[in-house]
Every structure is written in structure tokens, then in C-alpha cells.
Subunit: 485 residues, 2 copies
């Protein structure tokens, strides 16, 4: 009976003191916040269910930021409480799981798995390094360009920067940066920061480049502002490309490499490409499907195919072609985790709007800010939003907690709605430049030890100013051209 | 650069000839069926979208039965095609993912993970064996009773029969059935068949005891028949308990054990219980939550809490108590796989109803069967449904393919709707008695080698007649008492 004994013996071993990863102190805090809001005197104009839901929503968001339980678990607990307290009907509570934008994210996670599986990501990186990697600056741009190519269809900057780009950066750092250790260290630091600040910018450029972007879009939708895939990409195009050109130069200036040339890098890349052999059928199909999907996303409403339908069709095509493997897909934990918490937040935000809470809140805020012009008002508001990221360890947590109320205040100030929603959305990525913990790939790249803490923060602060200048200045002009304000 | 090389080297290795598990021949067959129906002349009274959806639905169901791709993948492909061909809008296509019964199944999978994690399942089994396992028949009943206790909250008969009961049966067979090999072999055969035929019956007894039961309920709902958790359990209670008492006796008669006594089994069970020590806090909480959930399910509408809300609240409680671990949950592949295919079938069946197809089909069938009395008609129909399971390797595939049309015909014959839906639902489990491949745990238990193929099929055929007699005879009387017909 050894099998059975083993099963019994390991069961208690899998339940440490902090059982199931629960942190009771934080859980108590979250509960206290929820109960307190619930018990506060409700303004007469607010629907009773809306007030209860507000309490649950705030508690869930605080839970997603402070993580007494993993994000998805926190979200499911929020749903459970909403059902038992009859704050929401079952139909309302499950509504988020059928949300189109939520499924766009799930589909994008599956597409990203296709990139991993086919090896197309590394091939793109090596090809760019072989072409442009002779100079250190060119090598940095090659890494950033790899990230840019992958960004539209890989909604996790961790998968791009830490999954595809970083292993190649590491192999270059180990074997292709010459023999002088000081030179090698400094060049590695430059490449690491260039790759990191690059992924911060590419994340801002596409709705599907970072998982909190669709969340921002849904939170904006709950306040009546519609943002399509194409509209986001178009608005981000000009400031994004300028940032991608300028930011590596800024990093080059403030975290200079050990030498200006990296002649061994293209040699290494060509050797790796030779080893890969010619492009496989799977890589070819993956490329065709990705490019087709991009075209469908760009054309968008003009071909009558919404972005989620196009993404699901692309997933179906990859399944039929045998490029995506179903077992890999259902093992794609991050997709399911995201599915649960994302759907829950979307559902709660939508229900708060439908119950009339958002309108009531906006009217109240509007009366407070009456008389302040929207230009100085929104500038102060958006900069506060940006720099408060020093206090967050995740873009998603920050967006969950602050995007909706800051957008409501921006609208109350009279800011043009679409511009307010987009700028807060872009900033929801760009603010990750600041720290070595601001978004998931940051601690991974920082953990390589190539960059000192002081350099990371100094360059982060400088890049933040550069990005703000580019996006508000050049971006502002571009959005005027587009008629967004 | 060894990491990168390794990643590149393994990528093609993971793509064998049958890339991604795709079987092109079967896929071609599925496509051909879909395209043929699509191209058939559409009856004038049928909505064009309904006809297209019928083609997609039939193709998806054939795909779920013949598996050119795994079930979930097949379902996603069906959704992709429905979207690209504009057969369904995005909102319609995603609707199933917010379906209450679908989430009841997902929640039940998570609860089952709690049983596995705490070790409560083996403890229940050993306790029953310690109490009743002295006689061989009592030992058989102990295994069946374990399955019965777990059945309401574990929607996978594989998890119960193959996951909890079978390892304990194996350890008893190895060490507690005496020294005579012939006796041991015959007793092992009896125990294996008793456990298997037991799980076939317990699967029929609760809406949440087998994953295709909620599917049957949703397919019935699409034809206007509502079945709650409590209604199913109440209708199945009497015939189910009679079957659980009689079937092991039938197995005892036709596959007799080597000896009538198994005195060593309770000794082994007590030793295992001693080794487990006293019940842990986790097991205690798991018991409390399970019993509370059962009470909530039984009371159902009377306490104004639907079964899905109660199940999600139970999951939330287990998460907060640290008994369920979120990482385990999102790694629970079978839950996600089921979520996708189940939601897809539910969505398609619901849409077929909403587009008026089901009504049109029923009216046509009704005119064909006019003049046949419902009693002989439904008897012939349900027996055909039952014995066609010789051709199926999964309850789910059988239900997906045949439940809805057979129910439609039954209604057209004038069979009392609720009874027709319930009987076809019960049979959707009982028909698995027939073969060693009829439901997922069958090949696992058969694979132990304790039972010969001839014995398995002979006992299966006899038990099928016994079950049919009990469920139609005693069950019929019980349902008359309940006013179901």
C-alpha cells in the first residue's frame, strides 16, 4: 500500500503554516475595509446594491494589490461573497466570463504559447542581432525591435522581455562581449536596461501588449468611452516609435556600455541561426497567422470582424494546424489566472456602472473640481497617477486600484474623454520605467545583477521624464492631428 | 548559450508527425459533415443562421466523439468558425462561458481537488473498510459506500473510482486477501467489478456526480425542461439506493469471490488510519464545507440560493481557509478542458433553441410519430439510447451526440417531459455498465487485470438488465409518487 501511504504522507506536508498561501493579517485588513465601507452611511441617491458592490469592489481591489491570496483566488472570493450576500445575481456575477475583451486576453495568451512552442521568437531575435548587432547601440536596438515585433500578439511583457529577449541577452553577455570583465559588465548593464526600458514602451503601444491595457479599456468602457484595438495602436504609433528611438540613446548616455562595438554578437547569432536550420513549417504558419491577425486587428471594424473574434479564429487556425497543442494551452496557468481576476474586475466595474454608481461618483467629483481648467487639472492628475507607481509592484494592481477613479475625475474636470482614457492607459505602462519592481519582468532582469540599484533608479527617473515629454508633447500634437482633442 | 540552444533543440522535437495531436483524416471527416449539412437545401421555415449553426453543432459533436483534436480544442475551433462565418455574434458565442451550470461543474472540480489535497477521501474509505470489511461482500459495499459519499461533490467518476477507491482496493488486493493466489484473484475480480458497477450507479444519483449530467440538464433546459439539483437527487434516491444494494449481490453471484471472508482487510484499514493520525484541521473543514454545501443544494430554492452560487461560495470558503490552493486549482487541467467544451456545447444548444430550430425539429418529428403511444415509443427509444453505448467510449460523447435529439423525439411522442429528461439523464450513466471502455474509469480498473474481458462483459450485460428493471420498475413507481408523471 505504498502508493496510498505516500499520498497520505505528503498531504499534510503540502499544507504549511501559511496554509494554501493565505496571509491572514492581510486578509483581515481586506475584510475590515470591505465591512467598513459596507457599514458606512449610504448616500440616499445611491442604490443599496451599488453601495454593497462598492464595498466588495474596493475590498477585492485592495486584495489584488496586497495579495492576501493570489489574484485569481481573491477575485473568486469576491464573487462568492457577492453571491452569498445577494449583492449580485448569478447571471450578473458570471457575466465577466463572457466578456469579449477578457477573451481577447485569453486568446492572446494562447497565441503567445504558439510563439514559445515554435521557437519563432528566438529566431526573430537572432536574425535582428545578426543584421544590426555589430555596434553596441545596434545590438540594443535589435533587442528592443524583437520586443516590438512580438508586442502586438504577446500580452505579457514578462514573456517577451524575460522569456524571449533575456535568455538571448544572457548568452551574448556570457560569450560574445570580449574578455575585459569591466567592459563586459558595463555593456551587459546597458543591454539589460535598454531591453527593459524598451519593453516598457512597447507595452504601451498596443492594446494586446500588456495585460492591464484591456483592463483599462474595459474600465473606460464602463464610463462610456470606447477604444478599439486600432484606435489604441494609431494613437500610440508616433510617440511610441519616437520613444523607442530616443530611450536607448538616453540609456546609452547615462549607463554607457564598456565598448561601442560588439563584433562577436552577430557571429554568435549567425551560428545560432545556422543551428536552427531553415524556418520550419510551424514557424512559417505561425508567422502567417500572426501577420493575418495583425491585419485583421488594424482593419478592425472595416471588415466587420471584432478583435476578439479575429483572435479566437487565429487560435482555432493554430489548433487545426497542430501548432498550438491543447494540453499546453490548458496548462497555460497564467492565462487561466488572468481570465478569473480580469473577468471579475470587469464584471464588478460594469455592474457599478449599471447600478448608477459611476455617474453619481463623477457628478460629486465634478462639483468639487468646478472652476479648475482641464489642462492644468489633468496634467496634475496624470502625473500623480504616473509617479504613484513608485508604490506599486505591478501595472495591473495600479490600474485596478487607480485607473477608474482617476478617469472619473479627469472627465469631471472636462478633459476630452478619449484622450484622458488613452493617456492614463499609456501611462499605465510607461510608469513601469521607474523601479526594479514596477512590472513583472523588472525583478527578473534586475536579478541578473548586470545593473546596480542606483543606476536602475537613476536611469528610470530620467527615462520617465523623457517618456512624459515625448508622449505629452509629440503625442499631444499627434492626437490633435488625429482629432482626439 | 546552452539554455537557448536547448530550447531551440527541443522545440521541433515537441512537434511529431501528428503535430499537436491533430488527426487529419478525422478532421477532414468532421469538416465534410459540417460543409455537407451547411450546403444541404435549407427548409424554408428554418432561420438561415439556425441552419448554419446546426451544421457547426453537428460537426462539433462529431468532433467531440471522434476526437480529431482534444475535446476542448474541437470546441474552440467550433467557436472560431462560428465567429468567422458570422453564424454567431461574439456575445452569443461567448455566452456559454457565463452559464451557471457550467460554473457549477467548474466549482465541483475545484471541490474535488480539495478532497484530494486533504486526504479526506482515503480516510473515509479506510474507516468504512475498518467497520464493514470483515466479509468480502461487506468489503465490496464499503468501497461502493465510499464512492457514494464522494459522489455529490466530485463530478468525475474517474477521480472517485480510479483516484480514491482503486488505490485502496489495490493495496488490499496485494496484502490483505490471504495466501491462496486463486482465491486472491477471484476476490480481487469481485471487488473490482463491485467498485466499478457501484460508481456507475452513484454517477446517476446526483447532478454533480458525473460531468455529462449537467450537460444533459442544460440540453433539457434548451427544450424547456428545468431540473434542479434537488429534483435530480430526489428522483434518483430510491432506485439508486436499491441498485446500490442489489448490484453488488448480482456481481457476487456472477463473479464470485474466492472466499466469503476478508479478515485482514479491516486490520490493514485500521493500520492505515492509525498512520494517518487524528483528523486534521483541513479534513475537518473540508467535511464541514462539503456537508454545508450538500444541505444548501438539497434545500436549494427554499433558501433562495441556487446551486452554482452555493458551490462558488464553498470554493471561496476553502480558499480563504487555505484548504484549496490557487496554484493547484489553475493547474487543474480537466476543469479547464471541461469548462471550454461544456460551455461551447451549452452555448450552441441554447442558440439552436433561441433561433427556433429545436421547436421546428420537434414538430417535424412529432408528425412522423403521430399515433404511437408514448409508453411503448419511449421504452423503445430509451432502450435504443441505452444499448447504443456499446459504440461509445465516453458518457459525455454519447450525451453530446444523442441526448438532445432523443429527448426531442420523446417529447414528440407525448412522454411526460420531466420524466423523459430524467430517465435519459439516468441512463446516460447506467449505460456505462456494459463495457470495459464505456466511461473513463473503466479502462483503468480493467487494466489492473483482475477481471477477464468475458466476465466484465457478461456481468455488464446482466447488471444492465438489473439496473433497467430497478430504475424503470421501482423508479417508475417512485416517480408516480413524486408526481413526475
Amino acid at each position: 500500500m505504498s502508493d496510498q501511504e505516500a499520498a497520505v504522507a505528503t498531504a499534510p506536508g503540502r499544507m504549511p503554516a501559511a496554509a494554501g498561501g493565505v496571509r491572514p493579517g492581510r486578509l483581515a485588513l481586506v475584510s475590515l475595509i470591505g465591512v467598513s465601507i459596507w457599514a458606512l452611511p449610504r448616500p440616499a441617491e445611491v442604490d443599496p446594491r451599488a453601495w454593497q458592490l462598492l464595498a466588495l469592489f474596493v475590498a477585492t481591489v485592495v486584495g489584488i494589490v496586497t495579495k492576501p491570496l493570489p489574484m485569481g483566488a481573491m477575485a473568486l472570493v469576491g464573487i462568492g461573497v457577492a453571491l452569498v450576500t445577494r449583492t449580485l445575481t448569478l447571471g450578473e456575477a458570471l457575466g465577466g466570463f463572457a466578456n469579449g475583451v477578457v477573451w481577447l486576453v485569453v486568446a492572446a495568451f494562447f497565441l503567445a504559447a504558439g510563439f514559445t512552442r515554435t521557437g519563432l521568437g528566438p529566431r526573430i531575435a537572432y536574425a535582428l542581432v545578426a543584421l544590426f548587432g555589430r555596434s553596441t547601440l545596434g545590438l540594443g536596438y535589435s533587442l528592443v525591435a524583437t520586443d516590438l515585433i512580438l508586442a502586438p500578439v504577446i500580452p505579457s511583457n514578462t514573456a517577451r522581455a524575460a522569456g524571449v529577449v533575456f535568455p538571448i541577452l544572457q548568452s551574448i553577455a556570457r560569450t560574445a562581449l570580449g574578455s575585459d570583465p569591466t567592459h563586459r559588465r558595463k555593456t551587459s548593464a546597458f543591454l539589460t536596461l535598454a531591453a527593459y526600458q524598451g519593453t516598457v514602451v512597447t507595452s504601451a503601444m498596443f492594446l494586446t501588449a500588456m495585460v492591464a491595457n484591456p483592463l483599462a479599456v474595459q474600465l473606460a468602457a464602463a464610463q462610456g468611452i470606447e477604444i478599439t484595438w486600432g484606435a489604441w495602436a494609431q494613437a500610440a504609433l508616433v510617440p511610441g516609435l519616437v520613444s523607442l528611438i530616443v530611450v536607448p540613446l538616453v540609456v546609452y548616455r547615462f549607463c554607457p556600455p564598456g565598448s561601442a562595438g560588439t563584433p562577436e554578437a552577430p557571429v554568435l547569432a549567425r551560428a545560432a541561426l545556422a543551428k536552427m536550420g531553415p524556418m520550419t513549417r510551424a514557424e512559417g504558419l505561425m508567422s502567417v497567422v500572426s501577420v493575418s491577425l495583425l491585419i485583421a486587428w488594424i482593419l478592425g471594424p472595416r471588415i466587420g470582424l471584432d478583435s476578439t473574434s479575429a483572435a479566437l479564429a487565429a487560435v482555432a487556425a493554430l489548433l487545426v494546424a497542430g501548432i498550438l497543442n491543447w494540453d499546453d494551452m490548458i496548462r497555460e496557468q497564467e492565462a487561466w489566472n488572468t481570465f478569473i481576476w480580469f473577468a471579475t474586475l470587469v464584471m464588478m466595474a460594469t455592474a457599478l456602472d449599471e447600478l448608477g454608481f459611476i455617474r453619481w461618483f463623477s457628478e460629486r467629483v465634478g462639483s468639487v473640481f468646478a472652476g479648475i481648467g482641464w489642462v492644468p487639472g489633468f496634467l496634475g492628475l496624470s502625473l500623480t497617477y504616473f509617479y504613484s507607481h513608485y508604490f506599486f509592484a505591478s501595472n495591473t494592481a495600479h490600474v485596478s486600484a487607480m485607473y477608474a477613479p482617476f478617469l472619473a475625475v479627469a472627465l469631471a474636470l472636462g478633459t476630452p474623454p478619449l484622450m484622458a482614457a488613452l493617456i492614463l492607459g499609456f501611462f499605465s505602462n510607461l510608469f513601469a520605467s521607474l523601479t526594479h519592481y514596477g512590472t513583472a519582468p523588472a525583478p527578473i532582469l534586475f536579478g541578473s545583477g548586470h545593473v546596480t540599484l542606483g543606476t536602475w533608479w537613476k536611469v528610470g527617473a530620467i527615462v520617465s521624464v523623457v517618456n512624459l515629454t515625448i508622449w505629452l508633447g509629440i503625442g499631444g500634437a499627434w492626437w490633435k492631428v488625429l482629432g482626439i482633442w
